[in-house]
Each structure stands twice: as structure tokens, then as C-alpha cells.
Amino acid sequence: MKLTRLTSLAAGSMALALVASACSSSATTAPAGAPASAAAPASAAASAAASAAASAAGGAASAYTGPTDAGTAKGKTIAIISKGEQHQFWQAVKKGALDEAAKLGVTATYQGPATESEIDKQLTMLQTALSNNPAAVCFAALDSKAAGALLQQAKDANIPVIGFDSGVDSTIPVTTVATDNTAAAAVAADHMASLIGNAGTVGVVVHDQTSQTGITRRDGFLAQMAAKYPNIKVLPPQYGAGDAVKSADIAKAMMTANPDLKGFFGANEGSIKGVLNALKETGNEGKIVAIGYDSGQQQIDAITSGVEAGAITQNPIGIGAKCVDAAIDAINGKTLPKTIDTGFSWFDKTNINNPEIQAVLYK
């Protein structure tokens, strides 16, 4: 009798799992990001269409030039809270920031949480940084809405806040130093479309759906596809947390479910690494178009060999340097533009060795 009870409990929990999966197995269900991005595609489409006219080679940086002298900021401390140090991208940002700080004679501290999902840890770091009364704070939000209270605290203490990489959903930052990820992802979509003949099924592997970069890159890609390439079907985006192994398993599952898949877009370095590993493990290198984001040794090798069609590179050193520049200007009371666009470039086998591209790649 006990066994029957156990068996029925087992059957019950399995049934629950299976029913839930059966209910949501329709591929036409709106993807998880739908509620958050319901408003975004409209505006994303508008800006994507506008910047589609922009060069397919990249997006120009804004005209902002930083200070040549630290002025009253000399010797003061700028606290930089990034999203972490686990990706080489952040190491490049750190180098750009610390080099610029050294050049202009200010002290900069750079820190970030162990993983990009530790929103609370990042807030704790921000809190600690603020209590040390820095002259300015640079902040790359893991969650664009969660830091509201702390930002208010900074404002009340007259500490200028400079956003970088991912913006913050707030009017408090005096400027945001970032890449126009929406336009950049649209350019990636353009290249994907031309490489698969403007028709077919494409998969998207994103790192997360809470940070601005995750949201804007995904939406930028999806919006451009929807606006300009009606014959391309984009599968619901899947999220791999930027973990190369998890992203590889997800990409393989997408290939299994869609044998006619023609291309993958990986929205950050970890995601595209996973896609590349998946292609290698399934023997599909060269058969499925892979387009990525940022750089790193594995992507550079893959693009050089042709396994990866190309990628969007940001300017991480520029992001680091410009956010220190903006912090110094803010300390000196200068008004800053609302956003400082550090630019992006499309790179592939043909231009990877050009000096302007080499300057923004990191290993």
C-alpha cells in the first residue's frame, strides 16, 4: 500500500511537470521577454530603421572629447562599479578606466560582483562605495531599475553618478557612457540576413533579460528582423546567463528542434562562445551562420578561420576611459551630454586586421 502511495505521488509530480511543458510547448507563445519588451520594439524599430541607414560597418562615436586636465578633480577618488570581471570585456574596460585615471592624475577604484546575476551584491558594492564618499561614481547597472534608492542617496550627497555600459532607468545619472546597443544589434541583424539570403530560421542566445545590454541587444536584433526581413523567422530568444556550457546546450537544443536552422546570434561573448562550442560538438561549423558580440580570443580565432561570420565589437577601452573623463568633467561642474556614444564596429575576416578594429578588440 505504501508503494502505491509513493507511486501515485511520483506520477503526480511528473504529471504536473509534463502538463506544464505540454501547455507551453507552443513555439508561437510570446517569449519570456515579451512583457518587458512590449513597449520596446516600437521605439527600437523606429531607431533601428533610422540607424539602418547608418553604415553597415559600424556606428560612429559621439563627438564628446574628455578633459585634458583634471582640474579640481586632481587627486580625488572615482569609484567605478562594473558588472564584474569575469569576461575579458570588463578587463578591457578596467584597463581603459585605470589608464585614463592615471594619465589625468585621479585615483580610480574598480570592482564588480563575481557573476552578472548578483544584482544584490553589486548594490552592496555601490552602497559601500558611496559611504566612502568618493568624488564621483561610475556605475554599470546589472538591473536597470534596482539601484534607484542608492542613486538618490548619491544625489543627496552631491556625488555625481555616471552610468556606463548599461544605462539606469533614472534621471539621476548625469550621463551614460555606452554603446548604442540597439543600433549595433540591428547591424548584426542586417549582416545575418544577407548571409542567409534574407530568408530562413534564426536562433538568438542572450545572456539575460534584466540588464539594459541584454534587453536592448535582443530587442534591437528582433526589431530589425521584424521591420526589414519578413521572410526570416526568429525563434524565441533563449537565455544562457553568458555561461558558455549552458549556452552550448541551449544552442544544441535549438538545433535539434529546428533542423533547418540557418543562423545564430549570440548577444554577448559568453553566449557566442557557447554557440561556437555547440557548432563544433555537432559538426555544424561552417554550415550555420554564427554572429557574435564583443571579442575575446575564441571569437577572434573563429572569425579568422571563418567559422564565425563576424561580430559587433564595442569599444571597451573607450568606455572605461570616457566614463573617467565624464566623471572628472562632472566633478568640475561641466554639463555633459545625456549620452556619450562610444561607438561600435562590425568586424569579420576582411577587416579584422585593420588598426582601428585591432585597437578595440580584446583577448
Binding site: R5, G12, S24, S25, E85, H87, G242, A244, A253, G296
Partner: protein, 329 residues
């Protein structure tokens, strides 16, 4: 004629029966899941997909095998994931940065894992720290050390050890990648250790009644440390396996992998209160988790629902474990 009443089943026999039931339940659930997904999800029932599931289970299977020993003794190991990264970084340093031959790199991974295990065991057995706290502390230590040693930079094997990843991807037997055979080989070694050696007997004894074991003359401190070292050796193997999947040591990943490993062990019948467990059950548990995740992925289920469903299954499995225990007591 009088017949003597049948002797009451010994405690060992009851445990075996209970474990067998849990293992059967887990195996049954796995079979049901495979059949269900094969019927309802297009493209699921294909050789390539099954191989994908096997490959996806490799890392977790190895980690779960190692932690089974620890959980049977009544302990826990939260440092599994980050220690795995630490061992893959150790291997990368030796094989790539120092350029030493690959076998020495593999040894380095095992040595790094054993070192973590030794530290965990020492903290728990000698300094009497609760396993949860000791291994939680080591989680952060190994997370940081992996980043310190690698300078927060991935270490790529391609240039220096080009055949490393290829070996694991090659399909030498039955068309199944070697990485899966490595996991099954490790599980076989673990099974022998747990069921045919004195280490295994003492592992169960520590979990069933540590005090009685100690009083009967066994050096429980030493054997506990040995169990954690065995766990550490499997963490080293996991570091090698995950490095092969990415052909690199990635210092940024690993945290969180311990949860899947512990879940696999528990689903397979290893009790968190100690004294019970089996390698076969753990491997079945690991396959169950991978099958569930991949089946849901191929079905196109959104990410958050995948998490919810996986969590519910784990809760269900643990609940069954508790029910079974209560019904026997």
C-alpha cells in the same frame, strides 16, 4: 510442528530495499520522461538529441558522483562548482602557461581537487566546522583563487594541446562521445569504491552512526577526510571534463553547478540525512535533470518555466524520499 517466525529484516536490508525503491522510482520517472518527450516534442526522438543529452550530463554526472560520498556521510559540499573551475584553471596553468605535457596537466587537476577536498575534510573533521559552513567558505576561496591564478583570463588549450578537446568529442564506442564514457568510467570506479572497499563501508558507517563507528575503534576523523578527498578527486575530473567542452579553462563560470549535482544525488536516492545512497541512483538522477532540461528546451519552453519545472521535480523527489523514510520508521 512449530515454525519459527521469520526474522525481522535487518536494518541494512531495509535500507537497501528503500534505496532500491527510490532508484526504481527515479529510473521509472526517467523512462516516462523520455517516452513522453519522444511522443509530444518533435525532433526529440533522434540519435543526435540523445547524444546531446548524454553529453550535457557528463559534467554534472561526475560532480554528483563525487558528492554522493560526502552526502552519505551526512555532510555536504557547496564548493563543488567553484572548486571545479579551480581545478580546470590548475590544469590550464600547467598544460598551457607552463607548457608541460597533458598528462601532467591532468594530474594537476586531480591534485588541485584533492587539495580542496583535503582542506574541506580538515575543516570539517578536525576543526569541527559544520560541512555547510566549511564548504561554503571554500566556495569563495576557490572562486577567488581560480581568478587569481588565471588573472581572470580564460586559458585556451587549442594552440598548445590541440588534441585535448578532440579526444573527448571522438566517438570510439557505440557512437557515443568519449566524454560520456569518462563520466561512466568515473561512476564505475566510484561504485567499486562505495560497494567493494572498506572506504565504502566506512562511508556508510559514518553516515548511519558516526559515534558508534568511532567507539568501535575506527578513526572517523581520518576516514571523513579521505571521503572529502575522494569527492575532491571527482571535482578534479569534472574540471577536466568541463575544460574539454569549452577547450579552455573559464574562471568566470562554475558557481551554481553544485546545486544540480546535489539535486542529482538526492533524486537518485541519496539521503541528505546520511547513511544512504548509491552511485547508480545518482547517475540516473543526473540523466533525469538533463533530460528534463533539454526536453523542455527542444519543446521551446521559456527559460523561467524550465527553472520552475526543474525545481518542482527536485522538490517532488526529495518529498518522496522523506515519505519513504517515514513509512519505514
Amino acid at each position: 510442528m512449530q515454525s519459527t517466525p521469520a526474522p525481522a529484516p535487518s536494518r541494512a536490508q531495509s535500507i537497501m530495499k528503500g534505496e532500491s525503491i527510490q532508484r526504481l522510482l527515479a529510473l521509472g520517472a526517467l523512462v516516462i520522461l523520455l517516452v513522453f518527450f519522444s511522443i509530444t516534442v518533435p525532433h526529440f526522438a533522434s540519435t543526435n538529441n540523445y547524444i546531446d543529452i548524454l553529453t550535457a550530463t557528463a559534467v554534472n554526472g561526475v560532480l554528483a558522483t563525487g558528492v554522493t560520498f560526502v552526502i552519505i556521510t551526512g555532510g555536504i559540499d557547496l564548493s563543488l562548482g567553484t572548486a571545479m573551475t579551480f581545478t580546470s584553471v590548475a590544469m590550464g596553468l600547467v598544460s598551457v602557461n607552463l607548457g608541460l605535457p597533458l598528462p601532467i596537466g591532468l594530474l594537476a587537476a586531480f591534485a588541485a581537487g584533492a587539495l580542496v577536498g583535503l582542506t574541506n575534510g580538515f575543516l570539517i573533521a578536525k576543526l569541527k566546522l559544520p560541512p555547510f559552513i566549511a564548504t561554503l567558505g571554500m566556495l569563495y576561496v576557490t572562486l577567488g583563487m581560480a581568478q587569481v591564478l588565471s588573472d581572470v583570463h580564460p586559458i585556451y588549450f587549442e594552440a598548445v594541446q590541440p588534441s585535448f578537446q578532440q579526444f573527448f568529442m571522438d566517438k570510439m564506442v557505440f557512437g557515443i562521445p568519449n566524454i560520456v564514457w569518462v563520466m561512466l568510467g568515473g561512476a564505475t570506479v566510484a561504485w567499486i569504491l562505495l560497494n567493494r572497499t572498506i572506504l565504502g563501508r566506512y562511508t556508510f558507517a559514518l553516515g548511519s552512526n558516526e559515534e558508534a563507528t568511532r567507539l568501535s575503534g575506527v578513526n572517523t576523523d581520518r576516514w571523513k577526510i579521505i571521503v572529502y578527498i575522494v569527492d575532491g578527486l571527482f571535482v578534479g575530473l569534472a574540471g577536466i571534463v568541463i575544460a574539454s567542452r569549452m577547450n579552455s579553462a573559464q574562471p568566470g563560470l562554475g558557481m551554481g553547478y553544485e546545486l544540480d549535482a546535489i539535486a542529482a544525488a538526492v533524486i537518485g536516492g541519496t539521503s541528505l540525512s546520511g547513511g544512504e545512497g548509491s552511485i547508480v541512483g545518482t547517475i540516473i538522477g543526473a540523466f533525469l535533470i538533463s533530460t528534463l532540461r533539454i526536453g523542455l528546451s527542444v519543446a521551446g519552453v521559456p527559460d523561467q518555466w524550465k527553472s520552475v519545472i526543474t525545481g518542482l521535480v527536485v522538490i517532488g523527489a526529495v518529498y518522496l524520499d522523506i515519505m519513504r523514510r517515514r513509512s519505514r520508521a
